[in-house]
Amino acid sequence: MASTTPIDTPPAPPAPPERAERPTSAGRMGDKIFVGLSRGSGILLLVIMASIAVFLSYRAVIAISKNEGNFLTTFDWNPAGDPPVFGIAVLLFGTVVSSIIAMVIAVPIAVGIALFISHYAPRKLAAPIAYVIDLLAAVPSIVYGIWGALVLVPYLEGLNLWLDQFFGWTYIFDKTEVGVARSLFTVGVLLAIMILPIVTSVSREVFLQVPKMNEEAALALGATRWEVIRLSVLPFGRSGIISASMLGLGRALGETMAVATVLSPSFIISLHVLNPGGGTFAQNIAAKFGEADEFGRDALIASGLVLFVLTLLVNGAARLIIARRKEYSGANA
């Protein structure tokens, strides 16, 4: 009798008349509790997000209303000044540019590693490589920062000279100012290393999900291994690669300590990515928070709100792209 109920009830007291009713009522009760709990969790999540948004907007409005400069176009951050002036233009530019550099470097490498692990490497090699890549994610970002400042910056100087010499005509790689390699480019390289594990592991999971039938069918038609990857693995995994990249981009946008340690911040916008200077939202907050008075903190919170919105937009865009490519995604396979 008890076995007909969908949920395993704990051993009930042996009272025959109750036994008939109890399982169903207990089942309903369990359902109700579960529905309540999950609904409560969902609402709690919304409440938390809403209160963060309300807190950010409230403090941001206080700051922006007292700002004597233009919040969007001023190239300065001086809320303690007289008059108080601050703007996010440089921070927005630096955040976006360093993240783009990181994506350009990291995504191809990450996809390559993922393909190697899932399709090329012998099993004995694939597991350790995957493990080591995952370990990269476990290194705290301040350690990346110290490593970047002490090792990466001196080493990248040679690369900078080389890029300046041979690719100076691209404008982007034209190094017009002297200075050590504490630039947005270096930050981009460091961020690329930091987002490699997340992009790699998600892509790898997706590549492993590719239906074996597709691959075997391609092989049976005489395709080489590269053609198999090009014809079946990559189209199938495209939306997965995009979502993996967006996860990585999310980390790159918000990275704080590593950037603050490596970058030589200044309130200048320059497309010469090898020049020292620039800034990102998170780096600016970390650098300025300590000495900021209450109004200065409100100003920093206002800049945090912009980062919040930026992340939201990026995630939204990623969803759109994935939705548009649904026909290729694993959901229909």
Binding site: G179, V180, S264, S266, K288, G290, E291
Partner: protein, 379 residues
């Protein structure tokens, strides 16, 4: 079964080992604690610091603020706590801004600050000091060293206008005529100058700005603020960060407290103040410059106005003075005695004497006398 029993045995053995190990360790720990806390209280150190008047000081005193005076504060706290058992002083060397915020919130007994309270900060302090307001007590002086790294050049003299142009990136090469003129006989390389400044807001930056603004008004047109005002140059975080960059990069120049230059063996610039000879960045030379300072605060407030344009022989003009911020009246009763007793020690001859060894400069005697009077009158 056999295996399980073996495992269980092993588990009990391990458990026993862990328990006994923990017992042994805790025994050691408690031993150490009593030993550690009793020695400084009794022992030989008491005699060394016997001039410290503990008064009615007791309990715990929290303080926070400027990291520029951290090394001085560490010495004072160590000596004071060695002499006065039962008192615990906890100075959190965060930054001047954080110290003042904490002071105005009433969470610390006193705050350390690189610059005197601004008018709006005084207004705010009236909330924390129920019957009075926050005042500045100058306690530690010191030179801001201009450190540089230039291969083959171990002696360099600059003056305020040249420094202003260097930090404003108007002078771009080390063999610029302006630098060569001040350094006759020195072989200056044709190398780019890489000027480093602080990336976060800092009292040291503000002091450099005040100096350049006063001594080179035509070359330095920026307001003296905690934030670095000029558009060019490179930035690093904290005095330690700037010092590290100067140490690492050939052709670099930057500014930081003298102790950072000393500890990392960074060459420092001698400043030509217009006197007979360029002044090296040393504690003694800084004292000579601070001696020209005047008190500009009113009432019990002893905020100083430094004379950055002093031409006194050997006076190193680029100095900063850090203050302890307290309430003139309305200090919290539970910490008042400790604050008075501790600051009295810091302002005493003994307390000021140890500053020189730590790379700082004592406050001139006549100002120091006023500081001591004010501390005695705190309520």
């Amino acid at each position: 079964m056999k295996l399980q029993r073996k495992n269980r045995l092993r588990a009990t053995a391990l458990g026993a080992l862990a328990v006994s190990g923990a017992l042994v360790l805790t025994a050691c720990g408690s031993d150490d604690n009593t030993g550690g806390s009793s020695t400084p209280g009794s022992g030989d150190k008491t005699t060394a610091a016997s001039n410290i008047d503990c008064g009615k000081a007791k309990g715990q005193l929290r303080a926070s603020g400027s990291s520029a005076q951290k090394n001085a504060m560490d010495l004072w706290v160590k000596n004071y706590m060695a002499a006065c058992s039962g008192v615990e002083i906890n100075y959190n060397s965060s930054s001047s801004g954080e110290g003042i915020v904490a002071f105005n919130q009433g969470t610390v007994g006193f705050a350390g600050s690189d610059s005197a309270l601004k008018p709006e900060e005084v207004t705010e302090s009236k909330k924390a000091c129920k019957t009075g307001q926050g005042i500045n007590l100058p306690m530690v002086g010191g030179p801001v060293a201009i450190g540089y790294n230039l291969e083959g050049v171990d002696k360099l003299t600059l003056d305020a206008p040249t420094l202003a142009k260097i930090f404003d990136t108007k002078i771009k090469k080390w063999n610029d005529p302006a630098i060569a003129k001040l350094n006759e006989g020195v072989d200056l390389p044709d190398k780019a100058i890489q000027a480093f400044h602080r990336s976060e807001d800092s009292g040291t930056t503000q002091n450099l700005g005040k100096y350049l603004g006063a001594a080179a008004p035509n070359e330095w047109k920026y307001e003296a603020e905690k934030k670095w005002p000029a558009p060019g140059g490179q930035a690093a975080s904290g005095s330690s960060g700037v010092a590290a960059q100067v140490k690492q990069v050939d052709g670099a120049i930057g500014y930081f407290e003298l102790s950072f230059a000393k500890s990392q063996n960074i060459s420092t610039v001698a400043i030509d103040n217009g006197g007979s000879a360029p002044a090296e960045a040393t504690s003694e030379n800084a004292s000579k410059a601070i001696a020209a300072a005047k008190v500009k605060g009113t009432g019990k407030d002893l905020a100083l106005e430094l004379d950055y344009t002093t031409k006194a022989d050997g006076a190193y003009p680029l100095v900063l003075v850090t203050y302890e911020v307290v309430c003139d009246t309305g200090n919290k009763p539970e910490t008042l005695d400790t604050v008075k007793s501790f600051l009295s020690y810091a302002a005493s001859d003994d307390g000021q004497k140890i500053l020189t060894d730590a790379g700082y400069a004592p406050i001139p005697a006549e100002i120091n006398t006023k500081v001591r009077e004010t501390i005695n009158g705190l309520s």
